[in-house]
Amino acid sequence: MAVAENTAAGRRTRPLLEAIALYKSYGSVQAVRGIDLALAHESYVTLLGPSGCGKTTLLRMVGGFEAIGSGTLMLDGARLDDLPANLRPINTVFQSYALFPHLTVLENVAFGLSYRSLPKDRIKARAREALATVRMEAMADRRPRQLSGGQQQRVALARAIANEPRLLLLDEPLSALDRRMRKDMQIELKDLQRRLGMTFLHVTHDQEEAFALSDRIVVMRDGRIEQQGAPGDIYARPATAYVADFIGGASCLPGRILGQVGKSYAIETALGRHVVPGVSGLSVGARAVLCLRSEKVALGETGTPAHVTHAVYRGADWLLECVAGGQIFQVTHVGPPPAPGETVRLSFDPDRVWIAREAA
């Protein structure tokens, strides 16, 4: 066993990064409250949540910029938390890029390499390679101030990957870019991660960004992990009302579980009884929510009567806001929309909606 542990294959079976029972407080504020997390090799993982959910604190603890309160961090099976930031084989792309203003682009990228015992020309060559990876080699002699936001972002990325870290941390790296640039950078980031075979841990509050990039999304709330999984899983099968609402803004209709039918539950709501699949482990009589995403609800001849309150044109379709049983529903609608005030009938396919827990 001990031999197998030390081979490449042996190491591969173990996660790259493990966080075990991590806590962190600032005075009386608990920023991180018991995080257990494992990052697979060569994966793209995002920490997703609103500001103040502890995602940045978690990232900063992994980077070594914040001491951990209690718990353990392991990288490749070795203790990470007692190493200072400058000795961790981890590099970071900072939110504001944090490029050194007094150094050229090339000097910025070579900064980390200068701490390796490498000959000078080798350092320069590797820095240029890293710049080429993000298509910035033409800007090598510029100063950061002479670059656009998107260009600075690329240089920050090159500076971090030039060191070939075991793990790359990205702290809201796209938040300062405009929408179009953000989309382009998302594609580039994902592409870069695949090409380099590196593990990326990316913090964001933007669910679209998380979906575009991740192999795995970790949804955080109030210093805890609310749910983690593949993007498709999280979207289609949210564990809680919070996740259903935060990811894709589902309408959550409160109800009570009446019984289990195979892998589905019978649920009683203000809009009647339905048999719908849901998270495992809900007991009879438990309170739960029926998650209805706007594209899973349709207007039809039959179904629950509802009043249209708003209709918002979105180009490809309309987003209608309807009220039924005192509950607001969002409905994606293609074609001419009903006018606000009109009564419509809402229906959904029970197999395409989902029951989630009311809270974690």
Binding site: I90, T92, F94, Q95, F111, G112, R116, R143
Partner: protein, 257 residues
């Protein structure tokens, strides 16, 4: 701006610059009495001052004090500013108060107190006592100047340096120090100007070697001559030149950033 406002601005600037303009005017006036009407233009007073060996010696003494004072207060001020803005957290307020307090103590009291202390310690008055005394009152200025630059340095840059493998000392040398260079230079120039124009402490603490400010003050009392006007003009021009040179260097390095 309203007419009244314009008048006010003129009054304020007039009050600030008219005396200096007067001195400049009389420094090239032929009469040795400082009174209107002007009698003619001459370079006599400048020639006299430049040929005055006693004042020349005083000038060299001033430099012999100002250079070490500027260097010493810049280094100590930088250390204090670093401690205040980057590292110390617990005693920060107390530390800042102790540093800035000499600024609030009247010079005369400080000078007398230092004189007494030196006497008790058996230290006789010399350029060294002048340097020590001046450093105490100039240190708050250099500290504040350097701190104002340090405060503007993005803390993420230091984190980035650590992230890329820099130890504390290495990140100071390669990131903080280059970025605080302008502040160090500004502090040095201000310290130099303050030291060379300091009178009270210099007068109390100097021994046989007398700095220019002390000589000028005694001349002003006993031997008033228009050549002193010429000297004043030279000093003002010298200080302006110093600041202009420093700003030019700062501007150039600023553009490079």
């Amino acid at each position: 701006m309203s007419r009244l406002g314009t008048l006010w601005v003129c009054l304020v600037f007039g009050f600030m610059y008219l005396p200096i303009a007067m001195i400049a005017l009389f420094s090239v006036n032929t009469s040795d009495v400082m009174a209107f009407p002007l009698t003619g233009v001459t370079g006599q007073w400048f020639a006299e001052i430049l040929g005055d060996g006693r004042l020349g010696g005083g000038f060299l003494t001033t430099l012999a004090v100002a250079f070490p004072v500027a260097l010493l207060t810049t280094l100590l001020g930088a250390a204090a500013a670093l401690a205040l803005s980057f590292y110390a957290t617990r005693f920060r307020v107390l530390f800042a108060a102790l540093l800035l307090l000499p600024f609030l103590v009247p010079r005369l009291i400080l000078a007398v107190a230092q004189l007494i202390l030196f006497k008790e310690l058996g230290v006789s008055r010399s350029l060294l006592t002048v340097i020590a005394g001046q450093s105490v009152i100039i240190l708050p200025f250099t500290t504040v100047i350097v701190a104002s630059v340090l405060i503007r340095i993005d803390r993420r840059l230091i984190e980035a340096a650590a992230d890329l493998g820099a130890s504390g000392w290495s990140s100071f040398r390669r990131v903080v120090l280059p970025l605080m260079g302008n502040g160090l230079m500004a502090a040095w120039v201000i310290a130099f100007v303050l030291s060379s124009s300091e009178y009270v402490l210099t007068a109390f603490l100097s021994g046989r070697q007398q700095a220019l400010s002390v000589l000028v003050a005694s001349d002003f009392r006993f031997d008033l001559s228009p050549s002193l006007n010429a000297l004043a003009v030279l000093i003002v021009l010298g200080n302006i030149a110093l600041v202009v040179i420093a700003e030019a260097i700062r501007h150039r390095s600023g553009r490079l950033n």
